[in-house]
Symmetry: C5
Subunit: 338 residues, 5 copies
């Protein structure tokens, strides 16, 4: 959620995207440097063994091994499996983002339909927002490492102001062996209903408009949890990951420079595996795209900024219901009036 | 539905996904070990025949057969057909999960709009939930092996409390040669309508809000059945499966080590088919992803946990309508009030 | 719609999908056996000509022809075009199935909102269902071979009870050079409106709920017709089909065993083209998947069971409005009441 | 919209799709015959130059050129770019068709909710339909060649009866430098509103139901225009088209029969480029699928039949509001009554 | 948004798309000419070094380098990664365009449901439009370079008439460290609500219809911002871009003409790299499609014309609410009346 680069690529110039390469945060370099180092170390180790340790007759076997593996590398179908895997994961990533929960619509409906300048009306408006946001905090605590670190216990949630002491008492009172995410939403709906009873909402239909906005927010968050419960079958990411790692593991042998190899008799000894390194960057980087998208609730550079979203939602929601209510400028003829 | 690994892959580190490889439950190893064992056995059998039994002139023919098959392996287009097949099946899997039926929205609407602390009001709320859940049980019994084992007969459903005796009598009374899934939903709608008549619901529009939530739940479950009625045309999974198995069946011959083979004269005799084994794991594992996703109603590790969903829905639904009704904390100024 | 195999593949075991191969109905074998026989006949004919009829100098030319064709087979891009074609066709198939029309929601709304135990109320409810189903019959007659055979004329539709004589008179009275599918729907809407006028529906909003359900059913059926009017551009299936057939036509020559061929000097003479047969099954079977999905209104094993759907809709719809109205079990405390 | 072939492919038989090949209208043959003739002409021209004009030393260079180009043909990635391009374009084509505007739902709502047998009520119903259809005519005139030819000026639209003289006066009166598509829709909405005022519509909510149907029709047509304003970035179709044409342009040289070519020493001289012709048909035909789908507003065989749709919409719409209003058959017991 | 070519490709003729090649604006030539020039310069530089500077023994190494790189070019998987990348980006592009905000529906609802010819009613209608459009201006200023250049400060927005001075005062008064996009929408909703209070809107339900249209517009714009906040993970475009550039960088060496190269002994020296240039145009052009689509808020030829959209929305919106209100032609019998 954080590594933003839209500004720098808005207008496409020859160097636009190339410039992205020299960043570190969220970059492919940061994502793969450990793996690349390990791989390169192993490559040079094997290379050194061949060059300095092996006897001639051993070298012959080594050369045959290189031939054998290098001719069979194509058995591992990296392109296909990565392409389809990432297309599938990308779709899921955008879907999760779509339902992650932005509170604005609830706030706007509340500000429009719950009337009154009294303190009580204001409390109604603010509490509806706060209760919705409270559930988002509770759910993010269970999903996101970042949110969990910020709110290790329910007390910290209360201390941060998302929950009042008497609300927490109410919340703790319910004993139940499933999650209690639903409770604050029920409070919010009840507030909406009561506001109608007290005449702060002036029509039955308006009640359902606000309720529908809350329901949409709730349903989105519920599906965020549901998708956490049923992930992509574990085999799929496993074999994709295995394929890429196995491919480069075999490359350690298959891409060695040897004299007398069948496949490439005229080969030049560059010592450093330039082309295989390029290949490593691409495939491993592509895999990292998939890994990053598969579970965006962690602490990667590109994972959802759950804490930032929580703060934004609360601040924005309260601001909208406070400032957005009934402060319309007076009606005047506009500049284009004829 | 069960093999959850999101926690372990939340933050992408070099070893994150590799660690998944060492699990057993839901893993590729568990999925393919039988097939791999059979395949390896056949491979070594053929290998032994070549090495120890065949005469020289027979070996010449054997070598030609190896050449023949190995040159024609590429006729079988595994990558393409697996990639597109699994993309199509994956889309269907997520769709089925989307409509599998979570009862929360019905419960929330019921708790908000059916008013009253009387026992009768509470019965209304609880029964609406129970009737909806009852249909889910009835449908899951017909689709899911797990649910069928738990509820072999209608009596077991009644005994588990999803159905009261007088309700079962009512249910059994209807003679009909199609399914009777619709009945409990009709009960639920009638309850909603009656609640309005008795004044427990205070507006006509609220009736339709609850009814729409029930309808959405019903429609989802109906489509779960419809998709069971019209599966993917049987040819598609058949030829995908056939392609993968036929490919590796041919590999038993084509990947044998022989001396004097045309395609790979300098080949080294490793006895064990390392690279083909890697290939076997990938393709067969990929196929298993597809097979697992194609029908998620069985007893595979990654199939839907229908029984768990039934229990959760009933418990959660009843809790919401009991605890979620009118227990809102009193209104107070929140911590951010200025 | 008919070849159901979900039960047998619910739980993925090694032999699960392989078992599907031994079926006949809806199978790849049934789909391709004619084409395969013709192809094999031609193959052996050409083979026999080469072996028994051609003179030596003719054989030289034959060998060159085999070389020529076999080296150019890759010009025909089967994988790509089949993969994308079937993905596109599959999406359209599911979409058609989504809108094909299940009457349940109309029946449930009708049963809930049209009140009264009188014969007239019952007639209202039953006729709304029947009129909706009547249109489905009329549309299926024009699209589906199966439905057309069952209902060759409008009289057969009336005779089957979908239409009463006085309704048919009303229907025939309208002269018009486009289709008259809309008429029964207009009857249904008018019935809903009249039921409100007579007080059988107790709120304006309820009228629109039923009307929307009917509209959704109507819109789905209208789009079934629209998609029949504008199919996939004919070039697309044509060239896909042509590509597959042309490929195997060329194979008749290219895959012959000849001595002295450039590409495969050491080839062994198996007489029977094993590997090409496997390839034939896969590609032709894959093509058959596409052909079957492209127009699911015919009489293939996997085409929509339109007649079964019509019967089900009528029976289910009438049952729901009869049995689903106001037969709710009396309210009691449930088993989980505490 | 016109080349219908569903009837002939409803049931999949071996010869089903092959039969499509022998059509001319909308066929691949019609689409590519000019390009193929030009290409073949150039091919034979170059062939003749090589065979009859070039000197020996020139032939050597020619052969090297053939080798050079034929070894590099694979640089041009036809499969990939065509596959993804056509998948993207196909999605857009179906989307455009979805929103192209069928007037039936507006007509059905109007017939149901605008009551009264008076001439005035009938005028209301008919004019609402006509105004909606008028906008479709105005928009199709700007998009579709076919519609533009039929209605070259606004006067022809009026003359065809879509617009009355006093309406045209009203329309022309507004001076404005953007399009005026919105105007007839505003007339339609105003009619709906007035009908309510005059009591022809009996409930506020019914007003919004008709209005929503008109709005959906309008929004669809607006997006048809929006997608005309922002097409696929021009580079995409350009490079796809360029790739295919460049490929076959290079083939003119690369696929020549020459003696002494590196890549194919034993080649036979067939004079006519059979296999390349097959390839030409497939790739160029595939490209034509994409070109046809990219802009379906022209006069190709497979483009939208805008004029037919306009006529159908007007006739169907007027028929529905005339015949669909209040001509319901009298209620009777149906044939399945028990 | 600007390079329109639909007219020229409406009807598919052989030369239709080829003609697009000779355009400059938005063309592939304009997109890649700088990069191609640089690449060609480097290619000739290396070529010249080989031909004129290197000694014989150095040339041998050079030849081996050419062999080495040219045999390993296939390590970089351009086709796959570009195909899937652009398919994913294209989907996102259309989605952004779908939600970019066309004001027509708001204007139509406002013109229909806010009644009255008084100046005050007209002010209501015009101000609702203007406030919605104001937010679009504020958001586009933050996203789009073009809009930012046109409206560098809030004062320029006010000066352009989108904001009245007393509204700007109201706007500036709110101190807040998140964006204030919500404010004008709240004004608009409050206007709608007040219009009801003053009796200009004649039904509660009509209020919600207008409000929903505004909410849809607001939600679309909010998601435009949200997608700016969370772009595609930076790794994905980076590695795609890197892959293409690295490929052609390696080509500078790998595609050199050298004598004695392993892979292509008979190669002819064309000096100019024809085929590689073709390849450059395709791949780099394909990449440019992706870059252009990835962020359409810049100043590329194919980026969204934000300023044009702002002007259109304001002009069209005001025109609709002024001219679209209650200027319906009088009811008459239409031309098809029988």
């Amino acid at each position: 959620m954080t590594v933003s680069y839209n500004q720098s690529v808005a207008t496409s110039r020859p160097w636009t995207f190339l410039a992205l390469i020299f960043r570190w945060r969220g970059s492919v370099w940061k994502a793969i440097w450990i793996q690349y180092s390990v791989w390169l170390g192993l490559y040079f180790l094997v290379s050194a063994i061949y060059r300095f340790i092996l006897q001639d007759y051993q070298r012959l076997i080594f050369v045959k091994l290189v031939d054998y593996t290098s001719a069979r590398l194509s058995y591992v179908p990296l392109d296909w499996i990565l392409g389809f895997f990432i297309a599938g994961v990308l779709r899921r990533f955008w879907y999760l983002y779509d339902i992650i929960g932005f509170i604005d619509n609830i706030a706007c409906s509340t500000a429009t339909y719950i009337r009154g300048d009294s303190e009580r009306a204001k409390q109604y408006r603010r509490n509806i927002i706060r209760y919705c946001e409270l559930t988002q905090v509770l759910i993010f605590r269970d999903l996101s490492m970042k949110a969990r670190k910020r709110f290790p216990t329910l007390d910290t949630v209360a201390a941060a102001g998302f929950m009042m002491p008497h609300e927490k008492a109410n919340f703790d009172q319910i004993q139940y062996n499933y999650n209690k995410y639903f409770l604050p939403f029920n409070w919010a709906w009840a507030l909406v209903y009561n506001a109608r009873k007290e005449g702060l909402i002036e029509g039955d239909y308006y009640v359902t408009v606000i309720s529908e906005d809350i329901k949409k927010f709730r349903t989105g968050l519920a599906w965020v949890c549901n998708y956490d419960w049923v992930p992509l079958p574990i085999i799929y990411p496993t074999i994709v990951c295995l394929a890429v790692h196995m491919y480069f593991f075999v490359c350690i042998m298959a891409r060695q420079y040897v004299t007398g190899a069948e496949n490439d008799p005229n080969m030049i000894d560059l010592v450093f595996p330039f082309m295989t390194s390029i290949q490593f960057v691409f495939y491993m980087g592509w895999l990292k795209v998939g890994e990053g998208l598969l579970n965006p609730w962690g602490e990667d550079d590109d994972d959802f900024e759950t804490n930032m979203l929580i703060d934004r939602n609360l601040a924005m929601g309260l601001k909208i219901v406070d400032e957005g209510y009934d402060k319309t400028p007076r009606l005047e003829k506009d500049a284009f009036w004829d």
